[in-house]
């Protein structure tokens, strides 16, 4: 019998105190829980990894293949279905639909208007977002035309914006001459400037950030249990957490690698489980927590988020045969040969390849004979016969 984990013991303790159990009663409770706990343990030798893979893989066939797009709607679209699961499991560097949920500190915004303004101020605005450059190559002039509709939509002040753009471009390109026109700014280059350089400059200017947090493309205010929450398209956890109004304890992003960067591997592990669970549950599928945590443990155990791909955990298996059986057989075998690797036949696939019984389930156990006890048994048997 295995002893109960500390957490369960503490909970029993608390419960007994609350109900003011006698010592005998408390011991009986512990006995029952211990018995049940031991009954629920996985049998040694069970192929839990494979069972987890089956338990995640089979419901995966029921997930939708398509991604739902909400064209024009304000709802932030999140990748759903099998693509999202693959994205998480592969441990990809960039998520296709990064999204954040920004919780706010209590009562920082008195009115809805102020909240709206705050939400809009988070949006990443670059020069190219609010206007276009028009090139006149003959005169070596480039004029910046402001998009007033966009400006209104984003609640920006024209004057302020223009000055900012002026300053930012001025910062980087001191030698150029500026003349403000009705809607924008004219930039005149030297007559000798090569056209290529002008184009290059424009591309750079377009990317100059003006307001907001980098990568946040869209913010939407939603309500969650009576509380206003800002949902975003695009994610930038480290920057958002620096904003004083933001509740740093609850603010969340669905970008696992970003969580890993900001909060570390344990948080990443938890978020893998959370994201997988969310994806399956939003498709009406329930998967036991244990299967997901095996997967998440495997992906995170050496301190980095590694996907179940040949560059990730599969490529790091110790057995050369196991690696070769996954992908790029010849490459793995040759590199194993160069390194003079030794196959230890500890895993399942290796033994399947060779044709030996696998070391799982009934193949795990071996019968051993205790010679001392055998002698005793024989003596006992002989004694019985004599009598």
């Amino acid at each position: 019998m295995r002893e109960l984990p500390k957490n369960i013991l503490e909970r029993i303790e608390n419960y007994s105190n609350k109900k003011s159990f006698s010592d005998a009663k408390k011991k009986r409770l512990i006995d029952i829980v211990t018995k049940r706990y031991n009954e629920s343990l996985v049998t040694p030798g069970d192929a839990i990894g494979l069972i987890a893979a089956q338990s995640i893989g089979e419901p995966g066939t029921q997930l939708t293949l398509r991604t739902k797009h909400y064209a024009g709607s304000l709802e932030v679209s999140v990748g759903q279905g099998i693509q999202r699961v693959i994205e998480i499991v592969d441990g990809r560097l960039s998520s296709k639909y990064p999204s954040m949920k920004i919780y706010l500190k209590k009562d920082v915004f008195a009115t809805e208007k102020k909240l709206n303004k705050f939400a809009k101020s988070l949006i990443d605005i670059k020069v190219s977002t609010i206007g276009d450059f028009q090139e006149d190559f003959e005169n070596r002039t480039v004029s910046f035309i402001l998009n007033h509709d966009k400006l209104d939509e984003l609640d920006l002040d024209k004057e302020e914006t223009m000055t900012l753009i002026y300053d930012k471009i001025n910062d980087t390109y001191v030698s150029k001459r500026f003349t403000p026109n009705k809607n924008g700014i004219n930039f005149t280059f030297d007559k000798t400037t090569p056209l290529f350089n002008i184009r290059k400059a424009l591309l750079k200017w377009n990317k100059i950030p003006l307001f907001g947090v980098k990568n946040l493309e869209l913010t939407v205010i939603t309500e969650e249990a009576g509380e206003k929450v800002i949902s975003t398209k695009g994610s930038n956890l480290s920057e958002v957490l620096k904003i004083p109004e933001v509740d740093t304890d609850r603010t969340y992003t669905n970008d696992i690698l970003e969580i890993n960067k900001v909060f570390g591997i344990e948080a990443a592990r938890a978020s893998i489980i959370k994201e997988l669970k969310f994806t399956f549950e939003s498709n009406g599928i329930e998967i036991n927590q244990r299967h997901l945590s095996i997967l998440a443990d495997l992906m995170c155990f050496n301190g980095k988020v590694k996907g179940v791909v040949r560059t990730g955990i599969t490529g790091e298996k110790t057995s050369p045969f196991a690696r070769a059986s996954f992908e790029e057989t010849v490459k793995h075998i040759l590199s194993a040969a160069f390194d003079g690797e030794r196959e230890n036949f500890k895993g399942i696939i290796e033994n399947l390849i060779v044709g030996q019984p696998i070391l799982a389930g009934t193949g795990r156990v071996k019968l051993t004979l205790d010679p001392k006890n055998l002698k005793k048994m024989i003596k006992k048997q002989e004694g019985l016969e004599e009598n």
């Binding site: 069970d46 192929a47 069972i51 089956q54 040969a337 399942i348 390849i353 696998i358 389930g361 193949g363």
Partner: protein, 604 residues
């Protein structure tokens, strides 16, 4: 350019803009009805997108409708009379602008009345017949308008799988495969389409008395219980014809294949008994019985390599056995033999073998309404439930197969079929034109319940079954999915040359694949030894000798009874058990230039 102008598309490409799309549409319509524009041109105006589509290309499905003008049918009684007297043809009706073809896009602009009573001034077209919305096949299904659309499609699909009489000259044909039903029957409930295309003169179904009741669990999950008495009276019995052919090919050496009765001189001779059915010409006699894998056409081929002429100038010709044999699991009688030659003068022989297929567990049947199932059990006639009149049904369907499928047509056909057999008269079940009152009246008249139910008694105990059972004749088809052609099993048999694993496929007597997912299931269950048995013991197990010093596969010289290592002279040789697949892998590794050193240890 004004935004209000509508876009005009011809065959999907934008050709221009128009101020008055409705007028444009009407103009094209008028011209088409006058015959100035081809009758297959369609024009549609989509108000929502403000676009006019004119289609003249191929690949659109069109259907004919009667044109209405000011709420009146253009097909007047006078014209109809002329049509009946065959003074006017269909083409005339189209030319005169009385009937026109609409495609799916133009149909969106039309308001079609189902019959003349429905017509209002808003209607633009009149349906020629309610049945015209169905295809030829689906309109042959009685009461199809009472079925769920999906099941109507299923029902129409099995028309091509049904066994009937495929052609009038089927006795003379040599098709590779052919099914012929023994006693096809006209359906009791017919439709007008069936009469029109004369399908009732070459039926492909039988009217089986079907009761809807469970029976000892043998008709669960859509299985069908069949009465053994009915089977013996040839319900669903059919012939399966298969043609085997061979020809006397000529080879560059001047020799050729020959139709003969093989004798001992021929390499691969299979014993005299094997060829006993063959006539003198090497072809099986008509109406002789051919066993599974038995010889059909006796044939010999010339040797593959021309032999040297021996000392005495005699060519010792070693011809090979090349007889055509019947397929596995298929035995039968020789039905017909054909001998002919092609243009080049090569002799061709075709032998048609006939097998009687008696319905048995696993054979598939289907009603017109997509209620398909395989036979779950053949029940002795005396054990079948019976009515007070002593009638025993042919089929028992499970009640669970009705509600979820919503095939009300099936139930209505049962009732109509019952009325038809009582009245001894075929009943019309054309969709949308059904005289339901008359059918129910007939049932009442003959003393049957209107709901089609009857009291049944248990065949085994004779006890009355509490609930009245819904019963009546329904047209059922036997489908060509026959279990004898599909059954497969193997204990030992042929193996592949390369991997020494069992071959795959029914014809080669192969094994059933125990794939990756199946293996995973065993691993997950922890049954390591069963997995080992499936993957190694019953596949490509190999006992091999290995040098324990250098870890390479040793040479087993069976002639000198000596085992030795090819690399080290005094290597210690051990016997191991692996899969042949792994031995292959070792060879491949060596070919890659990798030295796979095996380290041998004791198993325990």
């Amino acid at each position: 350019m004004s935004i209000n102008k509508s876009k005009v598309y011809i065959n999907g490409s934008l050709v221009g803009f128009h101020n008055n799309p409705s007028k444009l549409k009407q103009d094209v319509l008028k011209k088409r009805r006058k015959g100035e524009v081809d009758d297959q041109v369609n024009v549609a105006f989509n108000q929502e997108t403000n676009e006019v589509y004119i289609s003249t290309d191929s690949g659109r499905v069109q259907r004919p409708l009667i044109i209405l003008e000011n709420g009146k049918s253009k097909l007047t009684a006078d014209i109809l009379k002329d049509v009946k007297e065959e003074k006017i043809t269909w083409d005339d009706l189209i030319k005169d602008g009385i009937i026109e073809y609409l495609d799916s896009e133009e149909e969106e602009n039309a308001l079609v009345a189902l019959n003349e009573k429905e017509i209002t001034p808003d209607h633009t077209h009149l349906e020629i017949s309610g049945t015209a919305i169905f295809s030829v096949i689906s309109s042959m299904i009685p009461f199809i308008n009472h079925n769920m659309a999906g099941k109507a499609i299923h029902g129409a699909k099995v028309f091509k799988q049904g066994v009937g009489i495929p052609s009038a000259n089927y006795r003379n044909r040599f098709d590779t495969e052919m099914h012929v039903l023994y006693y096809p029957q006209r359906t009791l409930v017919t439709t007008r389409t069936e009469q029109l295309i004369q399908a009732h003169r070459r039926p492909m179904s039988q009217n089986a008395v079907v009761a809807i009741m469970p029976f000892k669990g043998f008709n669960m999950t859509d299985a069908i219980i069949i009465n053994k008495g009915s089977v013996e009276r040839a319900v669903g019995r059919s012939s399966y014809y298969r043609t085997y052919s061979a020809q006397e090919n000529r080879y560059p050496s001047g020799q050729s294949d020959e139709f003969i009765v093989p004798d001992e001189k021929i390499v691969g001779f299979r014993g005299e008994d094997f060829y006993k059915n063959l006539g003198m010409d090497g072809i099986t006699n008509v109406e002789s019985f051919v066993e599974e894998g038995g010889v059909v056409i006796g044939m010999s081929s010339p040797p593959r390599f021309v032999e040297e002429i021996s000392e005495y100038g005699v060519v010792s010709e070693e011809r090979r056995e090349a007889s055509v044999t019947a397929r596995k699991h298929l035995k039968g009688y020789v039905d017909k033999v054909m001998l002919s030659q092609n243009i080049g003068g090569t002799k061709i022989c075709k032998v048609k073998i006939r097998t009687e297929l008696i319905p048995q567990t696993g054979d598939k049947f289907c009603s017109n309404h997509g209620q398909k199932g395989v036979i779950g059990a053949v029940i002795n006639e005396e054990d079948m439930p019976f009515t007070s009149s002593g009638m025993k049904p042919d089929f028992l369907l499970n009640p669970h197969s009705i509600p979820s499928r919503m095939t009300v047509g099936h139930l209505l056909e049962t009732i109509a079929g019952k009325a038809a057999s009582l009245k001894a008269e075929i009943i019309d079940g054309t969709p949308f034109y059904i005289d339901k009152e008359n059918i129910l009246e007939t049932l009442k008249e003959f003393g049957f319940r209107e709901d089609g139910k009857e009291t049944f008694y248990d065949g085994a105990t004779g006890e009355k079954i509490e609930m009245p059972i819904f019963v009546g004749p329904v047209s059922f088809k036997r489908l060509y999915h026959v279990v004898t052609n599909k059954i497969q099993s193997r204990d030992t048999g042929s193996i592949q040359l390369l991997t020494r694993q069992p071959t795959e496929g029914k014809e080669k007597g192969g094994g059933l694949r125990f794939g990756e997912m199946e293996g995973d299931a065993l691993i997950a269950h922890g049954s390591a030894m069963l997995l080992h048995e499936k993957l190694i013991d019953s596949a490509d197990e190999l006992e091999i000798y290995v040098c324990s010093d250098c870890g390479m596969v040793a040479i087993d010289d069976k002639i000198r009874n000596r085992k030795y290592c090819p690399t080290c002279p005094n290597g210690n040789i051990e016997k191991i058990k692996i899969s042949y697949g792994f031995k292959l892998l070792l060879d491949e590794l060596k070919a890659l230039g990798v030295y796979p050193k095996l380290e041998i240890g004791d198993k325990i």
